[in-house]
């Protein structure tokens, strides 16, 4: 081969290089190597889509189960229902009074939230703004309660709530708190109190002293200054604590499942309603799915409306330590 030919070949190789028969993937990989920024961007989109699919797919599939008629339940696909029967969303209210269960849950969550906000406002004000000797010890004892499992409190509370107490007789038929909303919202208010105390403490401590002093000079009482100045100025903090308490009480399982006998008239919360569709003779999968979707809507809406509050509350509660 002459010198001339060799250079020709080299030239041919050079010109042919871009035309090499590359697959889509190789071409893509070459681009990525020459431009790493693009690679990071692509990884980012893949990760985002992966997280979106893994978190949202279970809800989508739950809807597919709810829409499948009972006779076709074995043919529910991964992406498609095994038929079309929106009637399940009506049947959950006719077969069981599911609306009553939801109402019970709502009532328990609202009452617990009101109690927690009031009690935690007083305590948060003390820990956030006042100076006194036993402060750190008391704050620590509040923190300690939040690390015990609910099971550690359950045996004595179960005994207490099943006891017939004479002074309660005018209020409850048999004088015991079992099968009443009190048996659920009293323990839950206490157990979720520490989180709200920490959130409100942070917010209240940020209000300038001058504002409170001005109100006191104008003639408000100490409590008046707290509820007319400090609490309104910390409205975002109060909303955060309220939203988080409502969601955690509504979602709670341990006390909610153990403090009633599960009948709607005994103030059983929503979780008993859903579990009741696991009936004695047949398991009503589509109704369980439909009831779950109905019961998840309130919290889902709350998360969409108040996501900033939830994020700031969760981080404040944990970082506080």
């Amino acid at each position: 081969m002459s010198e001339q030919d060799r250079t020709d070949l080299a030239a041919m190789e050079k010109t042919e290089e871009p035309d090499l028969d590359r697959g889509v993937i190789e071409a893509w990989a070459a681009k990525m190597i020459s431009n790493p920024e693009r690679a990071y961007r692509a990884t980012f989109y893949v990760a985002t889509i992966f997280f979106l699919v893994t978190t949202l797919f279970p809800f989508y599939w739950l809807l597919m189960v709810a829409l499948t008629p009972r006779s076709d339940l074995s043919s529910v696909g991964v992406l498609t229902p095994g038929g079309f029967n929106p009637g399940a969303f009506v049947e959950i209210f006719t077969r069981l009074p599911f609306h009553r269960y939801i109402f019970n849950s709502f009532l328990i969550a609202v009452v617990a939230t009101v109690i927690v906000l009031f009690v935690a406002s007083l305590a948060g004000y003390v820990f956030g703004r006042l100076r006194f000797r036993a402060k750190n010890v008391l704050l620590l004892s509040v923190l300690v309660t939040s690390f015990f499992p609910p099971a550690a409190f359950f045996v004595p509370l179960n005994r207490l709530f099943n006891q017939n107490i004479d002074i309660l007789r005018p209020l409850m038929q048999d004088g015991s708190l079992y099968n009443t909303p009190y048996a659920i919202f009293i323990p839950l208010s206490a157990l979720y109190l520490p989180l709200s105390i920490f959130i409100l403490m942070t917010f209240y401590s940020q209000i300038p002293d001058g504002l409170e002093d001005a109100a006191r000079v104008e003639g408000t009482t100490r409590l008046g200054a707290l509820f007319r100045i400090i609490v309104p100025l910390s409205a975002p903090g109060v909303a955060t604590a309220g939203v988080l308490t409502f969601i955690t009480v509504y979602n709670e399982y341990f006390f909610s499942s153990l403090m009633t006998d599960g009948r709607p008239g005994s103030w059983a919360p929503m979780l008993e309603g859903i579990l009741r569709f696991q009936g004695e003779f047949e398991v009503l999968f589509n109704l369980m799915a439909a009831a779950s979707i109905v019961a998840v809507l309130p919290v889902a809406i709350l998360v969409i409306v108040a996501q900033e509050k939830i994020v700031s509350g969760l981080t404040a509660g944990a970082v506080k330590e």
Binding site: A47, L56, T315, A318
Partner: protein, 312 residues
Amino acid sequence: MRPLNWLETQSEATFAYVLLAPAFLLLAVIAFYPLLRTFSFSLLADQTAAPTPFGEFIGFDNYAALLTGEALLPQQFFDPSFATPILQQALFVTLAFAILSVLFETLIGFGQAIVLDQDFYGRRWVRVAIIIPYAIPIVIQAMIFYLMFNPTVGFAAEFMQGIGVFGNNPLTNATDSFIIVLVADIWKTSAFMALLILAGLQSIDRGLYDVARVSGASPWQQFKYITLPLIAPALLVAMLFRTMDAMRIYGLIDATAGCQTVPSMSCLVITALQNTRRWATASAVAFLTAVVIGVLVLLYLVSLRDTEAGVT
């Protein structure tokens, strides 16, 4: 004199105690007193037939019986040979669940936090999507995974059997159910880790990364020498909270596989109470659970102190 006026004349300390009274009254009735009672119950003998469930004082015999495996509790299926004492099984299940779930949640939460830390169009909605599982009721989380792994309706059971990991009815098999409960928990609570890690990431001074880039640090080196050390305290606090929470696992198990299939410590308390009426033994298990969690919290606090000492 009206009570409010009386309050005006008191010192700041007295005023503080008055305002704290409702909170501590509530905590005393629901937390402090029951905790002490649980301990005193655990020192009594069981009476399964008598009208009162507690017998005479027997000291630490309940604990001894539990630790040696002589305690009479409903048999569980986790160890079919029944050779392992039930408390050891429960302790193993609870600790394995806590360690594995916190480990995976930290890794996945880290990934989610890094995604949410970027600036992009629709970030708000991606964040909502990632938080939603964390905000849903435990019973609905349990229903989703119960249905998915149910042999009749669920596709996941079939798929896992297809690749040979699960048996015929995964929700009655202890090992399979343990994995299902673990996956369900990771699905729900990774978001919590993500939010706390994100808060840590956003508190880092961005100037540090500019300096690192100018000095020629690779993205991995930036992560290792800037990101990781600076978010370590926030990460440990988040892991502490998650560990405490994972150690109490009850509802998710109760509503999916059932407490007999996957016996966690909290499950054991309830089965001892409801199925066999052994209140004193249940109290002993409950108190042991609290002790185990206390030891873990101490371990975390020690390592947290060390990281903070290392940073400064």
